[in-house]
Assembly symmetry: D2
Homo-oligomer: 342 residues x 4
């Protein structure tokens, strides 16, 4: 008995990645595909990497088109999910790849997004303490932002074990697909190839309050986050280099033990062997997050690095992993744990 899934926003990068994963999922049958500006077009032109869907035609994103599915994935611009979701029945599983339902604090939402807060849904990062339980049987899921996924996986074990002071400094490099498919001059290949550049410096990036929320919840106290995202010359991947001040007396052994414990049973978050550091190429197209950690004794900081694919574990893979949990399926079902490398 197949699960019938619809994807709203099927012409973008997040929507395309959801479709790539659903095509490989043994229990899912792909139903309606919708988009607005591209309604009426064939998927062959919009997502040429998905030949099995080449002859599908995009519909407009309407309640009618999305009705009658077991699961609806929303891959819409920020601010559009709430209206679509409330027209879908409470018995439909709605998985929002956008930001609308990630934040708990309405003030944070309004400050960073400039519109009324739509609410808070169960948070689709099962590796966080308590998150997996909240996802089981859920009917609504807020998929985390790509940066918060990487950063939270890199740092939560240090906070969960009480090893870190409540301040974190994060510099993360992201592939360009994180900026979406809309054509903007600074995202042209001519501009980004051979170039690294920062943006949203000084606390302005919208993913900052989400990181603060996640790390503070684990720490049990407010954590201050300095976050600088950078654009890297690659289509996919996030490398999050995170550090936090070590509490007095913390040893390298204690750090290692905390991270081993945090990831020992996780199917999609792996602590690498000591001395081996993650590369984003290793998780290209994979739902795996690779993590490594070290204690810099001279600087007194715990340095943790996570590599993910921003479109897979950072968006669509997290979404499908959450779907599996919400529907009571095996958590790993249909998801790639291997990267396409080199």
């Amino acid at each position: 008995m197949a699960i019938h899934a619809a994807v709203a926003g099927a012409s973008g990068y997040a929507g395309g990645e959801v479709l790539r994963l659903l095509l490989a999922h043994p229990e899912v049958r792909i139903g309606a595909l919708t988009g607005n500006s591209n309604a009426g077009q064939r998927l062959a032109a919009l997502q040429p990497h998905l030949p099995p869907l080449a002859d599908r035609v995009l519909e407009a994103t309407t309640t009618e088109a999305l009705a009658g599915h077991d699961v609806v994935f929303l891959a819409l611009p920020h601010g559009q999910s709430a209206e679509v979701a409330e027209r879908l029945g409470d018995d439909v599983l709605v998985i929002d790849c956008g930001a609308d339902f990630r934040l708990r604090d309405a003030g944070d939402w309004e400050r960073f997004y400039g519109s009324p807060h739509a609410g808070t849904w169960p948070y689709g990062l099962p590796e966080l303490p308590g998150a997996r339980q909240a996802l089981r049987g859920a009917k609504r899921v807020a998929v985390p932002g790509c940066y918060p996924t990487a950063v939270s996986l890199a740092l939560f074990p240090a906070y969960a074990a009480g090893l870190a002071e409540p301040e974190a400094v994060i510099v993360a490099a992201s592939g360009t697909s994180g900026a979406g498919k809309a054509a903007k001059p600074h995202l042209l290949g001519s501009e980004v190839m051979g170039s690294m550049s920062p943006y949203g410096v000084g606390g302005g990036h919208r993913h900052t309050p989400e990181m603060v929320q996640n790390l503070s919840a684990v720490a049990g106290e407010p954590v201050t986050v300095s976050f600088t995202p950078t654009l890297a010359p690659m289509p996919r991947g996030i490398l999050a280099t995170c550090s936090t001040k070590a509490r007095p007396g913390v040893t390298a052994q204690a750090v290692r033990a905390a991270y081993e414990k945090a990831f020992q049973d996780e199917p999609f978050a792996r602590l690498l062997p000591e001395g081996q550091w993650p590369a984003t190429a290793s998780v290209y197209g994979s739902n795996t997050a690779l993590v490594q950690v070290a204690l810099d004794e001279a600087a007194g900081r715990i340095v943790a690095v996570a590599a993910i694919d921003n479109l897979t574990k950072g968006t669509a893979g997290g979404a499908v992993q959450s779907m599996n949990l919400a529907l009571g399926l095996p958590e790993e079902l249909g998801l790639p744990a291997t990267g396409v490398a080199p």
Copy 2:
């Protein structure tokens, strides 16, 4: 009842890609993994994109290590396959990703490879006329070269339909993984990023006689091939731009019809809709070949372009597709038809 598979040469790029595909194959259980210079090392260090095999240890490539499997994939340097293969029983399926058994003409082999010819095995490009039948039930398979895979798919329909004169001009761009994992200065990232360069110009590339062999067999007469490979700044992918002189009176309609006919039932070779041209990004990590063709009336030439992933359809995917045929499994079983894009 699982198929038990061994991979000789599991630390290289071809071997790694065979493993990535076998991990996703529902009927295969991965047995021995061998290598020579890396024997004793854990796969976590050698193939960090394959976490499910992280704890496996490479053995030396010996008859004992490879014994007792249903299938043995050879991903060895040219010239080493024959000796390994003859020690494996006739009932074992041996699939050689190297060049040793591709050529029919011993003189061609000796001229291009400088060693005695080992023989000729069934050729693992099922899309070529007659090839699929020869692969069914085979116990030995020679996987085609990556360039000949792309070029043969691009041009065989023109020859099969009698539309082309027996001369072809081919310029193909390849990602750097085609050159393997051995560290050479001209393959450093610093050298290849931002750069295109040709090599083996003037007929010297070893894949030239394989293209001549394939196209001549379809044409029924000797086809002359001018082949220039170029190194492109990308890890994977081949874009083969191929042209041939059109026979007198050939029309665009006839060309289109020939290509539609050639690919209409193929699971992994697709003719794109008219006007859409293939990009290698669309087949990243995919076993699909995308093909398009046009008639340049002013120049009097049929121009056909194929895009493949050199490691998937061009090597390991072709190998697994051939394995499926040889073992009587569904040809598409376990193979990705979708690319990882963008």
Copy 3:
């Protein structure tokens, strides 16, 4: 006594490269910089790689703004140069980086550009037979297209020496800057990185008639050209792989001799030592074209490859080289012969 130069279209890639070169030119003083959609903006934002011009402000492209200069460079969209040029006095040197005045045949122009033909100006590729003389003292210069620059340099020696049949097959890879700075989805970094793709296949590219014109003039008979451009994952550079059928009896020695003779006195077009093939990285930011040639005896074809920087030798460098000739300055003055590599 400095040469006073204006640049119309100073916010685009061609205009920016003209400025980069003029800043290094010892005899030039940069005057008006104009643009239309960006008028009023500071160059700091538009061309951040040109700090010495950071505080300059773009004016609108008007006759007044461009008046009073010794040289005016036009880096405008196709079809806009004629109107601007005719308002500038006959004593002003006007150098058009656009296509408007490249073609001699009005029918070709109309067929490929769909508008009335504006005329024909001296052609700014000094290496072509007769071209240098026509540029000396000229008041109007049509800068060649980037592809025709590379292709003409690669093939004209074979035609000049009577070694080649009148048919050429050309596949060229270009960096993305050749497509300009206008934001289009298929030019996004996410789309082009890691990908090769063809476009304008089958004779449709507008640079085709320009190649036909150049090669036919050298050959003394109409040359048929099959041209396929491909987009490569790099910001700059063209690698043109060109071949032509060798006339009967042509030897490798004769080919080598013809190319040595053609380039022996050229400051910016160099034949590489035998066996060494050009890489676009070697000419990054350089006005040098690197050329190599071989005779493929089995295929009966002369294969010649040229590497240029599409923005330097292929556009702005060719423009400044032509300016030097037109003004009676040393041809090499202020132009970089070295590339930025690796």
Copy 4:
């Protein structure tokens, strides 16, 4: 009266960049070029981007070869400079692009490099307080490391103005040329394209003590540095994202003013207009460093970012800038302030 310059280590990336810059320097005549493993080879093969030197032949690095020059640039592996330098006369200007003479603390040297300390030379980063004076008339210059160049430029104004606590967290992305031309598997194009990865995490990178030395000298107290370098998929460029805890009461205006003051008269270090952040592409091949700074009030940190070309400002450009100062030439002479972009 030309300056006669020799380059030891002319076949590597640093040596090649020194040569590229010296070719454009109006007062320099290039003399002996030496190398060891490549002695006897022509530069055409080793540095194909430098056509004006194509016919030069590399000599062995001997005292005889280097004798008789006004300036000798050393671009040798770490640990080899001292022996070469002491055989050159005290009247010869020796500029060491290696690490041997950068550190003042012998213990630091021994800890990070594992060999006896050779000494300390005037430090070739003229923008640092006091450094320019020490370079004027110097006969020995230690060119800074590429990372310390970027990091010191980004952070010294904050320390010079007393705005920052003595702790800094730095994450820097470097192009692959920083790792040199020796062929190592992890530097293959196949491995680095499309990938970001950290290395030397936890304080192990040899450039860390050099940063500590520079920042502590400006701060007047020991500064703790957490430094994580990452390898980025580009041939050149460093983007250093640096942050430090702001002292109580520090305002955004005070930070801006400190940086404006620090860079107002610098020819090769520029503070960008407010709101504009640097990209490494803007300094490709340029001796300019672009810097921007912000105060993150929520996190209480000053965040400063510098972009340089690791081979130009980070190595060879810094070397030539220091040569100009040492010889009493205009500091900017012959050095490119513009980048090759896009």
